[in-house]
């Protein structure tokens, strides 16, 4: 029996954003990571161009975390005290790039200075040859001091820096323009704010094609459905021609998943759920692979098993898997 054709074709594609710069391009990276480029809804490689492979960025901090569960820290050991070594471990685990979070610059944390942060950025760039994402602590006044210093320390490396918000964007836009970096625009689970932040960046002279959207992230069981629908709506709008939503999306999976008690609790605290070495990676892995179906492009992750699970799933997602 003949079946009606249900294929969907879309007006436009999601932008392709390149992160990192090789020597020829004025940087020191061994290669460039390209994200985005999808011309179909997530997972529909059978009817359109699935674009670039979604990638994993290993989450690295400028200071050793004091509240990570043992199930995470045991995979990094002493490297947690050395961002460069930490980044190297993450790349060995299979990450495609590094996301350096400047958690230690937070005034309530170690309150590290802009100079210290810039030194850390340089150290990480030296330790690994993959592209770099640099993320501030989220306190506007502090980020406005720290991130420009980091941008200039990494000048020419074509990093992805973040994040700008509706209320704080001017300084960071200027720094990224001056030093040749890409930008993360952040919006709290709200399509209209996502567009608004992009308009603000564009009005300040920033190219919409150099932006990656961060719609915030929710873990499996802890708000995943909100972010799933926001990402799905955004992706459909982008494919339908909305230039303000044609950006690739970054998801902060590790941080959210490891807040969930299913991932973090000790075996005694969640009897019947199995050992932490399975619970944690599964929670992080499934959060990531579920969001893949909503349209994520860069996934910031922590656990090596979760990364492995995710990367294998990406093969299947791109329609080239052999599972």
């Amino acid at each position: 029996m003949e079946v009606p054709d249900t294929s969907e074709s879309w007006k436009t594609k999601i932008n392709t954003v390149a992160i990192g710069a090789t020597q020829d391009e004025g940087g020191t990276r061994a290669g460039v990571v390209r994200v985005g480029g999808a011309g179909c809804i997530p997972g529909a490689a059978y009817e359109g161009d699935a674009g670039e492979r979604p990638v994993v960025a290993v989450e690295v901090w400028d200071v050793a975390p004091d509240n990570w569960p043992a199930e995470l820290t045991r995979h990094y050991g002493d490297a947690l005290n050395d961002p460069g070594a930490w980044a190297q471990k993450g790349i060995e685990m299979g990450a495609d790039l590094v996301c350096l979070k400047l958690t230690g610059t937070h005034p309530d944390a170690a309150d590290r200075s802009a100079e210290e942060a810039a030194t850390t950025v340089k150290a990480v760039l030296k330790a690994v040859d993959v592209p770099l994402i640099v993320w501030g602590c989220g306190v506007p006044e502090k980020d406005n001091k720290v991130l420009p210093a980091c941008a200039s320390a990494a000048s020419g490396e074509n990093c992805l820096l973040g994040s700008i918000t509706e209320k704080n964007y001017r300084t960071l836009v200027a720094a990224c323009l001056a030093d040749g970096h890409k930008l993360i625009s952040e919006s709290p689970l709200d399509i209209n704010i996502a567009k608004q932040v992009n308009i603000l960046a564009q009005d300040s002279g920033f190219d919409l094609k150099d932006i990656v959207i961060f719609p915030t992230t929710g873990a499996l069981g802890y708000g995943l459905e909100y972010v799933y629908s926001i990402m799905e709506r955004g992706r459909i709008a982008g494919l339908s021609g909305d230039q303000l939503l044609q950006q690739p999306v970054i998801s902060d999976v590790g941080a959210e998943a490891w807040r969930a008690k299913e991932a973090r609790a000790s075996d005694d605290d969640v009897p019947g759920l199995g050992p932490a070495e399975r619970r944690g990676p599964l929670w992080e892995g499934i959060t990531a692979t579920n969001l893949l179906q909503a349209g994520g492009d860069i996934f910031i992750m922590r656990h090596p098993e979760a990364m492995k699970m995710f990367k294998e799933a990406v093969d299947e997602f791109m329609g080239v898997g052999s599972v």
């Binding site: 029996m1 003949e2 079946v3 009606p4 249900t6 997972g43 529909a44 490689a45 059978y46 509240n67 499996l220 069981g221 802890y222 708000g223 995943l224 459905e225 799933y228 629908s229 799905e232 709506r233 459909i236 807040r259 969930a260 008690k261 299913e262 973090r264 609790a265 605290d269 019947g272 759920l273 199995g274 399975r278 619970r279 599964l282 929670w283 892995g285 499934i286 692979t289 579920n290 179906q293 098993e305 492995k308 699970m309 294998e312 799933a313 299947e316 997602f317 329609g319 898997g321 052999s322 599972v323």
Partner: protein, 445 residues
Amino acid sequence: MALSGLAIYKHLPKENCKECGLPTCLAFAMKVASGQAGLDDCPKLGDEARGALAEASAPPQRLVTIGEGDGAVSIGQETVLFRHDERFQNACGIAVRVEDSLEEGELAARLDAIKGLSFDRMGQVQAVDMVAVENSSGDSGRFAAAAKKAAALGKAVVLISADPEALKSAGSEIADKRPLLYYSGSADNVETAAKTAVELKLPLGIESPSLETISDMTEKAAKAGLQDIVMSPGREKPSEVLEFLTKTRRAALKKKFRPLGYPTLAFADGTDDAAIVAASWFVLKYAGIVVIDTIEPAAVVAILTSRFNIYTDPQKPVQVEAKLYEINEPGNEAPLLVTTNFALSYYSVESEVEASRVPTHILAVDTEGTSVLTAWAADKFNPETISEALVKTGAAEKVSHHKCVIPGMVAVISGSLEEESGWQVEVGPKEAVGIVSYLTSRWKR
């Protein structure tokens, strides 16, 4: 699917006799379309027109119920491809596969393990709700015996076999439990399987990775008098299963293509991580039943939680009861944290409190299920509503220190709350993640 007034009008007698209580047939059609009148109110409507209307107003995807009583699982009748367009309607069934080739002891142990796959999430039970018995032995006696044992769990049962005869004997054994007869054999024999299903009045599952073939099969089954059908691509790669699930749902909803207007079933065979990922994907994208092999608790919880998330109604905030909760058995010296009754706000606070092991009271203020900041902006989380909640819940009798801790994000209201309530107000951390260190180090009686 609801029909338009004009579509209904086409089938009416057009006599304008007013017996339905309305001045014209058109007026009556409009009332029916808006659900304010039923077709029965028109005494002149013939059986043929009635049949045509019923057919035309049938939902584009059929609702199929498997199991009976408390164990019944209804799937299908989905209305959208993306949950943000409305909501996903009928949560898919999660079935664990059991092979009838297992030794008696192994079979009993596996069924027992399935029984235990039930977990609490935000005050609701999330559990594996189906058992899929597969006729791997090829022996129909063994199959029927395993079916009987599986049915005793009280969960909905799927019976899988390529042999229509085996399906018939196992199906008749537990027909009163309304199992799904899943015929995994070739398209040539679909009529035989369909006849069995009609005879036993049971739903039938059929499989083919080809949309053309499966459409032919559903049409043949429908001709045999069968309405309750479940379609599956069979054992294919996850990406191909997703393609099948997506295309059948689109054909039913967007093209109103009847031969594909049935719910679906997908297999996530294996117990490795790839199978867990696949099962979760099938939950998110359109399966009516997901058959899994894994009984690893963490994996099953992840799959069940994917279902919990995707079937949450996006138009309805998930709420918890607005009351005073006691975590870790708090005494009257224990701290009292204030939050809203938005489930996500409440549970993020609760899970941190649990992690801290500090006995604590949590006051969930009724903000109609909105988060702290949203409720504060909408004036639902303010000194008045918090004071009222403190009084209503008798908080003053539960704690002796008369101190409450409010979220750091609404620090601005602390002064006016002190005045309004007469309680001493402490400002807690801005984010739930800060609660553990707040309770263990900063909270001072």
